[in-house]
Amino acid sequence: MNASTKSRRYVRPLDIAHGQVDLSHGSGGRAMAQLIGELFLPEFDNPFLREGNDGARLPAVPGRMVMASDAHVVSPLFFPGGDIGCLAVHGTVNDLAVMGAQPHWLSASFILEEGLPLAQLQQIARSMGRAAREAGVAIVTGDTKVVERGKGDGVFIATTGVGFLPEGVEITGDRARPGDRILVSGPLGDHGMAIMAQRESLGFASEIQSDTAALHGLVATLLQSGVDIRVLRDPTRGGLATTLNEIAGQSGVGMMLQESAIPVRPAVAGACEFLGLDPLYVANEGKLVAIVAPEDADRALAVLRAHPLGCEAAIIGLVQADPHQFVQMTTRLGGRRIVDWLSGEQLPRIC
């Protein structure tokens, strides 16, 4: 992979400060090798990647593995609280984490748009590398393609992750039972509104930061506490409403939420109000939904709150028997409504 840069012939180093992605960076030729060697490798460096083969040779592991994949498109590429790079790591790490798995390896594929400044790409790669190190995962293989100007949004990143499932952990979407309690690890809608506030230039909402974060640590403490966890999910695209409807469908149950118990930051609520959106449908990138046995609810809440990523956790409702599998909510006013699947495409693309 880095052979060309070590060749004895003089090769002018990549001009990261002023250069831009061009079609040759996806051609499979020397320019691509140089991009990988000088821009990506230093940020992701690990023994598997350093071998420079087409694929990564990984050690055998005992027990079951979990694999998850996530594609990331976001505009703007950089937003308060993060960027597409760390998002691409957290997204896949979280998909593994909510299965109860310990994430280990990632692959990363980049689709770059001609004209993307190399400095921006480096910033993104750096952020990915940092997020991977913090999450204890290695980016072991990847790919790069370049599309013509106008055919991409700067950069798209697809990541696939592999993790190990500890003995005895069974966390799947079909295990919610009537009576179970529903918890969230913190305020909802931060990520989606951080992006939307940027895009719509909402001055008053500029303080909103994306919540993008790796959740496997939070999940691990919950697992260690011995709480009877039925289901875990990260409510990303489509927000809490979509996630709960998915679980209700998988488990064949209904739910009843308390609107007044659902944490939403005032700035997020205000920005949603302004844009005519419902925070329950806005994306999160660092929040956990946990459904736990009723007798363990208070303990689960205490465990979540003791962790930095869960200090604003709350119990927001309960699972109930319902042949129609409706997710319902008692509104702040005291009336009732359905919290339905998102229909149509009211939200611009945000994750």
Binding site: T330, R332, L333, G334, G335, R337
Partner: protein, 374 residues
């Protein structure tokens, strides 16, 4: 956003609920229509009906701009985009409304039509400035709330002498639609009062509703779009009924006066004039119920520039949108509701717009149909 929360406070809501319960006569049935889709949405979104006594019934009105747009008008917009190859700028709500021949603006877009979603008339105007080589048409729909901004862009286009900008004007007026509703025979629609529009009234004021109290002897209370506004308005309507009054009252005094916004009215008057008649979806053809662009701005009138003619189109046979828009049926009474017709595959406009009665009932309230069958 403390301001907003004040209008959604649970304690205030409970107090209002108690006041309404104390005010209604137990042996009376009360039927109030909320004219506006904005109210319909708020009522469903906050479950307001759960806080009302069982003998207070809310009827959804026709005040949803997309819902009252006849199919023929959508066809005109689609024709502009496909046959005349203009850049058509439209509010997002219109995109998925079914038009004739299984088409919609969304499907036209998939076939290559240049259709852009805009948040305001001003967005359409700036697009026309950015691409002078292409004709840009703004698909202008809505009641009196969205009309002044359309007037503004037409005036600006005239001042700039923009040759590539025009407007497909489908703006409609609230009072004639209310009159049409009130003309319905009482056995078709029992009506004891109206919750009047919020945003529309900020423009036209409360005076244009006075005929309702005078000629039809029905109380009107103009209300804001927050759920507590609606509850307060219901309380005021119940009081009027109890005291035998029929007056236009204003709950939304923080934004509405009797005279309305004079400046906006003058602006509208300068750019638009009354159409002799206009076909509404569900309400039929109503004289003097819509606006067209005045002759002095005719070069910005897409109907003239592209010589478009309106062709009436019949609705789907089983679709009850018409009856729902007139208030004589509830969404659950449509045979297509929630089986053939859902927000994902809407048969009628009422299932598309978030202000549509069918969409609001489907999205927020359909669990009630399971609890107590209609």
């Amino acid at each position: 956003m403390k301001y907003v929360d004040e209008f959604r406070d649970a304690t205030l809501a409970q107090n209002l609920a108690r006041a309404i319960a104390a005010e209604v006569k137990p042996d009376c049935e009360y039927h109030f229509m909320e004219f506006c889709g904005g109210h319909t949405h708020a009522i469903s979104r906050y479950g307001v009906t759960d806080l009302l006594p069982p003998n207070v019934h809310l009827i959804h009105g026709p005040g949803c701009p997309v819902c009252v747009l006849p199919v023929g008008r959508l066809d005109m917009a689609i024709k502009l985009a496909l046959a005349h190859e203009v850049t058509l700028c439209t509010y997002a709500d219109t995109l998925r409304v079914p038009a004739s021949g299984g088409m919609s603006l969304m499907k036209a877009r998939a076939r290559g039509a240049d259709i852009r979603m805009v948040y305001s008339a001003a967005d359409a105007l700036s697009l026309a400035q950015q691409q002078p080589e292409k004709q840009v048409v703004f698909f202008a729909i809505g009641f009196e709330t969205t009309t002044p901004p359309t007037a503004v862009v037409i005036r600006q286009a005239a001042a700039l002498g923009l040759p590539n900008f025009s407007v497909l004007c489908c703006h409609v007026l609230t009072p004639p639609a209310m009159r049409r509703i009130l003309e319905a025979p009482p056995d078709a629609l029992a009506l004891d009062g109206l919750i009047g529009p919020a945003h529309v009234s900020t423009i036209i004021g409360s005076r244009p509703y006075e005929f309702i109290a005078e000629a039809y002897r029905k109380p009107v209370v103009i209300a804001g779009f927050e759920p507590l506004d609606v509850m307060q308005a219901i309380l005021m309507l119940v009081r009027q009924c109890r005291e035998g009054r029929a007056e236009v009252e204003n709950e939304f005094t923080r934004a509405v006066t009797r005279e309305g916004n004079r400046k906006a009215q003058h602006l509208m008057d300068e750019v638009f004039e009354l159409r002799d008649e206009f076909e509404w979806r569900g309400l039929g053809t109503i004289p003097h119920s819509a606006l067209k662009i005045r002759a002095r701005y005719e070069q910005f009138d897409a109907e003239r520039r592209f010589t478009l003619a309106f062709q009436p189109v019949a609705d789907h046979r089983s679709c009850d949108c018409g009856a729902i828009l007139r208030g004589v049926k509830h969404p659950r009474e449509c045979v297509l509701f929630a089986n053939v017709c859902t927000p994902e595959s809407p048969m009628g406009a009422c299932m598309v717009s978030s202000e549509g009665a069918c969409a609001a009932h489907y999205t927020y309230g359909r669990f009630r149909d399971m609890e107590k069958p209609a």
